[in-house]
């Protein structure tokens, strides 16, 4: 699998580490409802189909990315985007067209992941 890092360009998936479910929202620091914390710490949905995920470029620039991936076909469905303080920077390595290994992958914009704010 190849993952496009906006900073480093398209890289083999072995350079990355899975970073967790990107649809979960960490409660505010002062949240006192333990149930809300338990929900965040323990409960995850397990969708069949597209899922929003974090990936960490551990063997590269160490940036965190968010992308949409299909849990059944394993195809990446969205263009990975940076998360965090550099999220507003333009990509240093914009993806090239027509070089896709999975010829039929669609590149759609996805909505902002909930936890990013």
């Amino acid at each position: 699998m190849r993952i496009y890092c906006p900073i480093c360009g398209e890289r083999d998936s072995s350079e990355f580490t899975y970073g967790g479910d990107a649809t979960v929202h960490r409660p505010a620091m002062d949240e006192t409802d333990v149930e809300a914390w338990c929900q965040y710490v323990y409960n995850r949905k397990n969708p069949r189909g597209p899922m929003l995920e974090y990936w960490h470029h551990t063997q590269g620039c160490r940036a965190w990315l968010v992308l949409e991936r299909d849990t059944v076909t394993h195809k990446i469905l969205s263009q990975p985007r940076l998360v965090g303080p550099w999220a507003d920077q333009p990509a240093s390595n914009p993806p090239t067209d027509g070089g896709s290994d999975t010829g039929s992958a669609e590149r759609e914009r996805v909505s902002e992941p909930v936890g990013a704010e």
Binding site: M1, G19, G20, C38, V83, G84, D101
Partner: protein, 1000 residues
């Protein structure tokens, strides 16, 4: 009667080069180009092995990778390789092979008595036959079944050969080099695309050497050679013979194994035995061909019963006749041409038995012209012969009722060439597609819709005719290149003369009724699965094809059912009254053929299994003769043994030396993280459970880091170097994890915090100087620092110089003694280390290792990895005071949950051995004095040591209720080794309880 070498012919062999080999100790001869199977047939060998369950005599069925029966053990000693298909072994000088699964010999196998118990060894027999008389009986039977199970035996010596793993990239990967693959490779090549053509066999060309057509005026085999020669002139084409593409993975990643040196006695110098290729292809053309199917009838496993294309191959490619009196049994047209060509090669074809009543007239006449008896509308109902085929019973057959219509007659024969049709080899395509589709017109499954970037062409896609294959290959190659962006010019197709029928005009014939009773009709020869087993599975409710497979083990052997899957599911369909597509096929999974573990491991073996990390002072430790210990990927000195010392002697001496005077230990492996930014203080305050916001510059603090669920994750010290810069240390094991944790928080959870974290583990060399003489030692070593208690108080941090080298000195103590951690930039680690040793000479300074490091901290009750095992909270460890109630931090909101505040939780205690025996870490703590009265586990022992200070064996452990049990006596038991040590629960600190030694 048996096979023999024809006096001429054999496109693949070189009759001028004799090759000597041995089989079961017999010295035999063959030719260069032979396979072991063809050479054995030429030497009149009929018996190749004994079957898995019933030990029935078996011959060779095929000429290729689909072989289920002719499994041999190759070589010997450290290179011994069992279960190798004789059809795939390229003959070489001095080859040694042996048959398997027989004792004492192939001809006389004692275990063939299993045949007599056939009725008790049917599908699922483990659960039926061997279920009594008592529950323990299975363990009795299991012993014998285990001895009898399996086919070949593996070796016990280390494999001396090298294996390599490589990567390749291309635009178009073509799998298979038959007519389809050759045309696809050519079409893609002329367009300029980078092409890899992978072929499982040593020779490219697939079945072309067998075909009677002329292509572009040449024999089909010659055309193949010419095309291969042309392809090898292209710079953008890589030919990979002896390479099996065994798996299709996500993102068009293909896995393949190249058999570099399987065909020579020993790999050439600097040559690997096999290479594993990970091929990233933009487009794939699958031209994997089709595999011939046998027919299921009574005695169809008798040696001498073979696939018809295999008989043709042996004659045309190897110049070997499979028998002296061959009968062809078929349900299609193509086998007629096989009979004719074999006859033209000089073989005696006694008869052709065709299940169809009305085959094409010109074929019937051609047979007559060669005196081949013709039996239309007949089937072979039984093959007889034991160790070698002697003859067959044939009978008239009604395809509508699927019953025999008359009495059988006997025909003598020693080789039966069977053709039940062809099954497209859809395995690779199926790794990357939806369910295969069944085509009624060819009664076969073809690949389903692609889920990756591939296309199938030729026989694997249901086109069995040569002209069709050539056209499909050219089209697929051009289209694949086009998809990558290489505009292809249309490739002219070779002219084809003398077309053979493609075998698609056939009568579906999966199984033939037995003459009487049920007969012994084999579906899966390698696992000895019969047609009756399939019906038994259906009767017992295992009707789905996936259940059929696993209950009967049909298709689960090393041949993965290549010649048995379709027959098996057709019989299940018949039994269920369903159609074949309704039954469907099982899911194909990689690998297509067995892959050696060596190929998968490649070079990542031995010392290369994982990287090794060395500290800057590593060479010094080794030069001192230290016992080096792997701590994760790091190597650390365990003890520095003096002559005559055991490990225990050494660490006791080292520990005493530290307590009495001074010692130095290499702590470079600790994780170190630089934390910088205007919000660094706030960040650390949110990450540690104790307060960090007000840590003054020039001070360090011990910090406890919790997980989000409130369990302790890691501990370490963090030093404030300036208003905005900190140096965080972590445990060695968690360094990477903590860094990721911090980066996650800064990118995802608190991106508004202005903080940068950087791993600096490898940038700093670290050493701890500990003991009553530590200050005196360092004062003599440093250039310009005031190390008095006032200038550098406990937990203080100061920069300075030591031997002109910039250092950071922090007054921290893991050992409980007066101690300092000296950090220098990694390249300066050695000179600083040596300078300190020099300065400590008057005080008898020694270097100490991880054992003494452990003994010292356990004596002081300092927790470390074994206590931070992912199950303990701060309160469990007696560090509840470090879990602040005044701020929010990672884990703070989860701490008050019932489960984490239960008073009966396991809590930290000290343990003293009452018998003087050492306590084993991991021991369980129980109340009862004997094995029978132990009672439940009340906790466990986490860290143990001999305490030189107390002169006792001590330990730290976690026990229910913790210090409420102070004074109680328990037993530390280790049942696996039968240890039982009486212990007393005490406070978890054994020495210097008020901690005053650190504060001098």
């Amino acid at each position: 009667m048996s096979g023999y070498r024809l006096s001429s012919g054999g496109s693949q062999i070189d009759r001028s080069r004799r090759v000597r080999f041995s089989f079961d100790g017999r010295d035999l001869g063959g030719f260069a180009g032979d396979t072991l199977a063809s050479a054995l047939l030429a030497n009149e060998q009929t018996l190749f092995g004994r079957s898995f369950k019933y030990h029935r005599p078996r011959g060779v069925l095929s000429a290729g990778a689909e072989e289920p029966s002719a499994l041999v053990t190759m070589r010997g000693g450290a290179r011994v390789e069992p279960n190798t298909k004789a059809t795939m072994v390229e003959l070489y000088e001095g080859l040694e092979a042996a048959s398997q699964n027989r004792w004492p010999s192939l001809r006389f196998d004692v275990l063939s008595v299993n045949s007599l118990f056939g009725n008790f060894l049917t599908a699922g027999f483990y659960y039926k036959t061997f279920m009594g008389p008592t529950r323990k009986s299975w363990m009795f039977y299991e012993h014998f079944i285990r001895r009898a199970a399996g086919l070949g035996a593996g070796g016990f010596e280390a494999d001396p050969d090298r294996y390599e793993g490589l990567h390749a990239h291309c635009d178009v990967l073509v799998v298979g080099s038959g007519p389809t693959g050759l045309m696809a490779a050519r079409a893609a090549a002329v367009s300029g695309a980078r092409v890899i053509l992978a072929e499982e066999m040593a020779q490219l060309g697939g079945m072309l050497p067998n075909e009677s057509e002329s292509l572009d005026g040449m024999g089909a085999g010659d055309w193949a050679k010419a095309t291969v020669a042309e392809l090898s002139t292209y710079e953008n084409v890589t030919l990979m013979p002896r390479t099996t593409v065994y798996g299709y993975f996500d993102d068009n990643v293909m896995a393949a194994v190249e058999r570099v040196a399987d065909h020579v006695p020993v790999p050439a110098e600097n040559t690997p035995r096999q290479r594993h290729w990970t091929i990233r292809a933009k487009q794939v053309v699958i031209a994997s061909g089709a595999i011939e199917r046998p027919v299921v009838f009574d005695g169809n496993d008798t040696p001498g019963v073979m696939l018809s294309d295999a008989v043709r191959s042996y004659a045309l490619r190897f110049g070997v006749a499979a028998g002296r009196k061959v009968i062809v049994f078929t349900n299609n047209d193509r086998a007629y041409h096989t009979a004719l060509r074999l006859a033209d090669q000089g073989m005696t074809i006694r008869a052709l038995v065709d299940a169809r009543w009305a085959p094409p007239q010109e074929l019937v006449e051609a047979l007559a012209a060669r005196d081949i008896e013709h039996f239309p509308g007949h089937v072979v109902v039984k093959a007889e012969g034991g160790k070698a085929l002697e003859g067959v019973h044939i009978a008239p057959y009604d395809p509508h009722t699927k019953r025999l219509k008359g009495s059988p007659r006997w025909l003598t024969t020693d080789a039966l060439a069977v053709s039940g049709g062809w099954s497209p080899a859809i395995h690779l395509a199926s790794h990357a597609s939806d369910r295969p589709e069944f085509r009624e017109d060819i009664q076969a499954f073809v690949p389903g819709a692609p889920e990756q970037a591939w296309r199938a062409a030729g026989a694997c896609n249901g086109d069995f005719g040569l002209a069709a294959c050539l056209a499909a290959g050219a089209e697929a190659g051009a289209a694949a290149a086009g998809d990558v962006g290489f505009g292809a010019t249309a490739l002219p197709l070779p002219s084809v003369e003398g077309g053979e029928p493609d075998g698609s005009a056939m009568l579906p014939l999966w199984e033939v009724p037995a003459i009487k009773g049920r007969g012994k009709k084999f579906v899966d020869l390698q696992h000895d699965v019969t047609a009756e087993d399939v019906r038994l599975a259906q009767r017992e409710g295992f009707q789905s094809v996936e259940h059929l497979k696993r209950y009967t083990t049909l298709g689960m052997a090393a041949d993965q059912g290549k010649t048995s899957n379709i027959n098996g599911l057709a019989i299940m369909a018949e039994t269920r009254g369903a159609t074949i597509p309704e039954v469907g096929t099982t899911r194909f999974r990689p690998p297509y053929n067995p892959v050696s573990l060596g190929a998968i491991a490649g070079r990542e073996i031995g010392a290369h299994f994982r990287p090794v990390r060395l500290t800057p002072m590593h060479d010094w430790h080794v030069a001192q003769g230290a016992d080096m210990l792997a701590a994760g990927a790091w190597l650390r000195p365990r003890v520095y043994r003096q002559p005559g010392e055991s490990v225990t002697d050494a660490y006791i001496r080292e520990t005493r030396a530290v307590r009495d005077s001074v010692g130095i230990v290499d702590v470079s492996t600790l994780g170190k993280i630089d934390v910088q930014g205007p919000d660094a203080a706030e960040f650390l305050n949110r990450v540690y459970s104790n307060g960090f916001a007000k840590l003054p510059v020039g001070k360090a603090r011990y910090g406890l880091m919790l997980r989000e669920d409130g369990i302790v994750y890691d501990d370490g010290t963090t030093w404030r170097l300036s208003e905005t810069q900190y140096l965080m240390t972590t445990t060695t094991a968690n360094a990477a994890g903590v860094l990721t944790h911090l980066e996650h928080l800064l990118s995802i959870v608190w991106p508004e915090l202005r903080v940068q974290v950087t791993s600096v583990t490898e940038q700093w060399a670290g050493m701890a100087v500990s003991g009553p003489n530590a200050r005196r030692t360092l004062e003599a070593a440093v250039d310009d620092m005031d190390l008095s208690n006032e200038a550098l108080p406990f937990m203080g941090v100061r920069p300075g110089h030591l031997g002109s080298i910039p250092v950071l000195i922090a007054r921290l103590s893991f050992s409980g003694e007066l101690a300092y951690e000296v950090y220098a930039e990694a390249n300066y680690g050695m000179p600083v280390w040596e300078k300190v040793l020099e300065a400590g000479k008057p005080y008898g300074i020694i270097a100490y290792g991880t054992e003494a490091l452990g003994a010292l901290r356990i004596e002081k009750g300092h927790v470390a990895g074994p206590e931070l095992d992912g199950r303990t909270t701060a309160a469990d460890l007696g560090l509840g005071g470090m879990a602040s109630r005044k701020k929010h931090y990672i884990g703070s909101m989860m701490l008050d949950r019932e489960g984490l505040t239960d008073p009966n939780r396991l809590k930290l205690v000290g343990l003293v051995s009452l018998s003087g025996e050492s306590i084993r870490p991991g021991s369980q703590l129980v109340e009862g004095a004997t094995v029978a009265t132990s009672g439940p586990s009340l906790g466990h022992v986490s860290s143990t040591t001999y305490s030189p200070a107390l002169e006792k064996q001590v330990a730290l452990g976690l026990v229910e209720g913790g210090l409420e049990r102070t004074g109680h006596r328990l037993y530390a038991i280790y049942p696996l080794k039968g240890h039982r040590v009486p212990v007393e629960i005490v406070e978890p600190v054994f020495f210097d309880k008020d901690g005053s030694r650190m504060h001098v």
